[in-house]
Every structure is written in structure tokens, then in C-alpha cells.
Amino acid sequence: MFELLGITPQGLVAQLLVGLINGSFYAILSLGLAIIFGLLNIINFSHGAQYTMGAFVAWIGLTQISQWLGFPELTMNYWFALILVPLIMAGFGLILERTMLRRLYHLDHLYGLLLTFGLALIIEGLFRDWYGISGESYPAPELLQGAIPLEAIGIILPKYRIWVVAISMLVCFSTWYVIERTKLGAYLRAGTENPKLLQAFGINVPLMISLAYAYGVGLAGFAGVLAAPIFQVNPLMGSNLIIIVFAVVVIGGMGSIMGAILTGLGLGLIEGLTKVFYPEASSVVIFVIMAIVLLLRPAGLFGREK
């Protein structure tokens, strides 16, 4: 077949597939952040650390719990982890919001940023101290091990990565549907625009905000479980991602759930392409795009100017 700039079409498709997989992670993480940041105006800088924590909780559940409790049979396998870990993380988020974030709503947004930044440092430092930096191995569940050869594109794609794309898309689009198309979502959006008015209608706005934050953190935990078999569970997995994910939300547009999802996926694809043609720039391309978007369209690509 012909070659375009040193890469065959099959090679290109293969790279784009890999890019799509990374894009799914960006999408889920930015979804959680978009809800928290975009709808609630809380700058959650600990999102990356919460993602890391999710991965660790899954790993601990699989390998450590049985030792701690003395029941060798009691392990949290992957499928349980997919459900339990987000719930645990949501609970953690709820506690955080109630005890600390709530006190800062009347202040400049800056303080929320600094607080969550500090929390991120604490979480990462603790895991680093307990488990070192080398990273722990987390095996993919048996059902998803192995790979599917895709002869047409000449690559072998691991089953697990296909699963990641599928489940992320499912979660992302169901969340979007709930927020944009259901009554609950309407309450949430109304609550962030004019909380007093909504409260006057008898809706418990503070509770809604707490639950929304908890959901966002739960999503971070969910992404962590998904990431564990691919990226190794290590304390720094989140800090590498956090500013990229923030950039995605800003580009996508505050308050736009669909914007965050599409931008996350889009970024994955663009990064994949950059890795093919100019790999060194793959880590900076997102920031170039962010700077351009912010200067030309400050509300983001899909955002609504507040």
C-alpha cells in the first residue's frame, strides 16, 4: 500500500486506535472534572490524586485485603472493583466536600484550587510513602485477557483496551443524558445558575451540590480502576494527567458536558497523530491548543459564556 509521510494507512489507523483509547481516559476524567468545575465552579485540583486513589483501592482490594483481614478468599476482583471503588471514592468525596470545600464557597475560587492542590499532594505523598514509586502490577480480568488480531490493519489489539473504550463511552454518554435530558440534571444546572431561587422552590441545593461533587470524584475513581491493568498502579499516575485534563475541560467549555467528552476523545486522537509525526511535541500540543482556544473563544469550543 502507499505510504504517507513515512507511515502506511494501516499504521495510521493503528495509532489512531491507540489514541482513541487514551482519549477515553481523558474523556472520563474530564467528565468528572467538568461536572465539578463546570457546573459547581469548584476547582478540583485533586482530581488526579483521586484517580490514583481509585486505582490503589482496587489494587488493595485485590491483593492486600485478604492478608489484612486474614481471609485468603476475600478479594475484590475487577468486576466488583468497577462498582465498589467508585462508591468508596464518592463517599470520600462527600466527606471532603462537607468538611472542607463547603467552607470556601463564599471566598475567591483561588482558595478552592489551593486547598485541593494541597490535598492532592497529601494523597500522593502518602501513597508514595506506603508503596514506593515503582508501581504495582494489576492484572486484567481473565475474561478480558489476550488480544484480537485485526488482520486488516495488521495489528493485534488487546481485548482489555477495547473494553475500556466501550465502557467509557457508555458511562460518558449516560452521564450526559442524565444531566442534559432529565429532570434531575435540570435541577443541577439550575442550582448552579441560581441556587437561591431553586432553594426557594424547595429543592435541597446544598445536598445536590455535595452529591454532584461525590459523583465527579466517583468518576475519577472509576477511571482509576479502568487504568490499573494498563498503566501500573503508581502514586504519580494522576499528577501527570491533571493539568492535561484541566486543559481539556477549559477547551471543551465550562459547563458543557458534551464539550468535555468530545474534547477528551479529540485530544486522544490528536496526541496519537502527534506521536506519529513529531513525538516530542505530544505532551505540549494540548497547551498550544488551549492557549489558542482561550484567546479566540474564551468560553471554550462548546461552552456558554456566563
Partner: protein
């Protein structure tokens, strides 16, 4: 009159006292203590292959050298610190140690950028460095210093071991996945030279950021290139991730994955099922002979893991340093360096001689990872396939760009 006589007497005694005859009779140990600093990566990417194990190795050497922890009647002290693989943290710590804390020699220095930074500070202050962790050939080549010895291995030796052997097997087309920093580049450079010298070709290079988690795009490119060999010019956690993901994507079905630098700690992390069949070069293997086994078992008791070549090198460098200080009667840098380079070393762990450029030239071993069925006990990981003589494992002095070598 009496005052004059007393004064004359005092002057005479002072002059006698400061004359060379009296000055030389007492051994000169700076600051009245021989202080060794272990500067390593205690919690990062390289903490398993060096890290806390290196500190243990240094402590073992001191304990083995002298039961009461003294040399020439002065105390031996050990300090350690974490440089987190950052050149500035390492340089600042070294400066503080040399200036304020009376440290005489700094050892380990895993990660090439930290080693080079500290070597520069040491040269300025006329203190010693004994590098065991870092691997770039530049350490004893264009960046050599008169106060440094490079103990364990360098990229030239690794390339000449692994690359040569693999090319000889007929695998001539290579694709490199390189960690984008000084060490990765050095490793790739030395290996490509060997490949080309053996009649092979480099089909392409992918530079991955350092450190990196996900190598899928680079592995796919390597796969698309159709090369016989996918060579990994990286180390530590990066190598572990690349090998794992290569296996996930089925790369090792049609191509050979060659890690250019791997340590026994990495094999332990990966497990034999994933690592089996891979070729690599190391400077030390615990199971080589009775002497290495005996020492390694003692190390294992303290560290709960078998030693890597870096651990063995730290022990050897500290032990030989102390022996030299004892023999010369001082810890003065120039005198000790001179004696180190003049004395052949055979301490049960390494056998060889330190050259003019500071390279400790000793044998290296070409190793193949055993199949799980062939491993008879924990840590029984390697077959020793070949012994590479010291002369072949170091860059020939005639080609050296070191300022200490007259060329």
C-alpha cells in the same frame, strides 16, 4: 635577657615543629573522620536497582572492613540522601556535603544526569566520586574527571555484549525505542554503532519521554517497521513497562524484544513467564561462583532481595576505598586516586584494574533469562551464556576523548 632566651627558644621550637620532618609523622585524615556519602534514588524509578540496597551495601563494606568502624584510628561515618534523579538536588546536596559536612567521597550516583552534576562539583572541590549506578560512557570519556572512578558498567560494555551477540544470531534489522534523556541516547548510540559494525541496519528510532507509562504508540511503530529486533534503550520502570506492553500487543511473537539495560530486580518484577528468553548484559550475577554466592546471601539477609550489579559495585567501591586509605595513610584525594589506579582489584565480586580515565575495567556477562521450568530456586534467573573480557567491555583508550588520556 631571660625574655630574649625564652622567645628564641619558642621561635626555635615553632620552626622545628612546622618543619616537614614532624609534619609527616602523623597520618593526615581531613576533619579527623573518613566520611562516605551514598547519594542515590531512594524512592523513584531506580530505587529498586540502587536505592536503599546501595546504602545497605555501603554499610556492609564498612562493617566488613573494620569491626570497630575505624580506619587509621579515625572513625568511618556514613551519610545518605535521596537525589530523586534530579541533577540540581544532587549537585546541591554534594556541595553541602563536601563544604559543610566534611564528606570525602560520594558513591552510587544512579542516573547519569546526577552523576555528571556531582562529578563536576567534586572536581571543583577536589573530593572523590565513585560512580556505580549511572551508565553513560561519557562519564569516563569526554566528561571524565581526575577524581572519579566508574565502577559497575557503561553503555559501551552493554552494547558490546548484548547487541553484538544478537546481531551475530542473524538479527540484523533493529528498531529503537529510546528514553529521551542523556542515558537513553547514549545507550542507543553505542548499540547502533555495534549493530552497524556487524553489518546490520537501524530501521528507525522512537523517542519516548522520560519517564513514561504507556509505550503502545511506539511499540506499534516498531511493529510496523518490520524490524527483527525491537531494542529498548531505557532502564528501570520504563523497561518493565515496555516489556509488559510488548507482550500485551503480541510484539514478541514475530520480533525479538531486546532490553539494552536490565537488572535482576527488573526480572524479579516482571516474572520469568514474561521475561524468559531475553538476552542482556550485566557486570555481576549473584550465582556466578561460591564467593559471589556467599556475599550475596549475606546481602539478602539484610535487604531481603538478591543484589544487583549496582549493589555489588557500591560494596566493592567502598571496600577498596577504605583499603586504599589504610594503605596510603591518608584520605587526601590525589594520593588515594593515584593508589587506586595503581592497584589491581580482585575482591571476590569483581576482578580487574582501574584505568587512567577512571574506568574500572572488569569482565561483563552475557545472560539469558531462564524459562520458568528451569529455575530451581528463587532468584535463579539467568544462564551465563558468555563472559566478555575486560578489554572488550570498555572503550579502547586509543579512541578515548578523556582529557586524562594522552592521545
Amino acid at each position: 635577657m631571660k625574655l630574649k632566651q625564652i622567645t628564641a627558644g619558642l621561635v626555635a621550637v615553632t620552626m622545628l615543629g612546622s618543619s616537614p620532618i614532624f609534619a609527616q609523622s602523623a597520618p593526615k585524615v581531613s576533619g579527623d573522620v573518613v566520611k562516605i556519602g551514598v547519594l542515590t534514588d531512594l524512592s523513584g524509578t531506580y530505587s529498586d536497582l540502587a536505592g536503599p540496597g546501595s546504602v545497605i551495601a555501603a554499610k556492609m563494606a564498612i562493617a566488613d572492613f573494620s569491626k570497630d568502624g575505624t580506619v587509621l584510628g579515625k572513625k568511618i561515618e556514613l551519610v545518605s540522601a535521596d537525589h530523586q534523579n534530579k541533577a540540581d538536588i544532587a549537585a546541591n546536596k554534594a556541595r553541602e556535603w563536601y563544604d559543610k559536612d566534611n564528606v570525602d567521597v560520594i558513591v552510587d550516583l544512579v542516573s547519569t544526569n546526577t552523576a555528571l552534576a556531582v562529578m563536576e562539583v567534586a572536581e571543583q572541590k577536589n573530593k572523590m566520586t565513585l560512580v556505580s549506578g549511572a551508565g553513560s560512557t561519557a562519564i569516563t570519556n569526554d566528561k571524565c574527571t581526575p577524581v572519579n572512578v566508574h565502577w559497575a558498567y557503561d553503555t559501551y560494555g552493554l552494547a558490546n555484549g548484548t547487541a553484538k551477540a544478537v546481531v551475530k544470531q542473524g538479527k540484523k534489522n533493529w528498531y529503537f525505542i529510546t528514553a529521551d534523556y542523556a542515558f537513553g541516547a547514549a545507550l542507543e548510540n553505542d548499540a547502533s554503532n555495534v549493530v552497524k559494525a556487524g553489518g546490520g541496519k537501524v530501521l528507525g528510532v522512537s523517542k519516548a519521554p522520560f519517564p513514561n507509562n504507556d509505550f503502545s504508540s511506539y511499540l506499534l511503530k516498531a511493529q510496523a517497521s518490520g524490524a527483527d529486533v525491537v531494542a529498548l534503550a531505557n532502564a528501570g520502570q520504563d523497561t518493565i513497562n515496555s516489556v509488559k506492553q510488548a507482550s500485551e500487543f503480541g510484539i514478541n511473537k514475530k520480533q525479538t524484544v531486546v532490553p539494552l539495560l536490565m537488572f535482576i530486580s527488573d526480572i524479579h518484577s516482571l516474572g520469568l513467564p514474561t521475561a524468559q528468553g531475553m538476552f542482556m548484559t550485566e557486570g555481576f550475577y549473584w550465582d556466578r561462583d561460591e564467593k559471589t554466592r556467599a556475599w550475596s546471601r549475606r546481602f539478602f539477609e539484610q535487604h531481603k532481595r538478591m543484589p544487583t550489579m549496582v549493589h555489588a559495585a557500591v560494596y566493592s567501591s567502598v571496600m577498596n576505598y577504605l583499603k586504599t586509605v589504610q594503605a596510603t595513610g591518608t584520605d587526601d584525594t590525589t594520593v588515594v586516586m593515584q593508589k587506586l589506579k595503581a592497584t589491581p582489584i580482585d575482591d571476590g565480586l569483581f576482578k580487574g584494574k582501574i584505568r587512567a580515565d577512571g574506568k574500572f575495567a572488569h569482565e561483563m556477562f552475557l545472560l539469558e533469562v531462564k524459562k520458568p521450568a528451569d529455575a530451581k530456586s528463587p532468584w535463579d534467573y539467568y544462564y551465563i551464556r558468555d563472559v566478555i573480557p575486560a578489554a572488550d567491555a570498555s572503550i579502547p583508550l586509543a579512541m578515548s576523548k578523556c582529557k586524562l588520556v594522552k592521545n
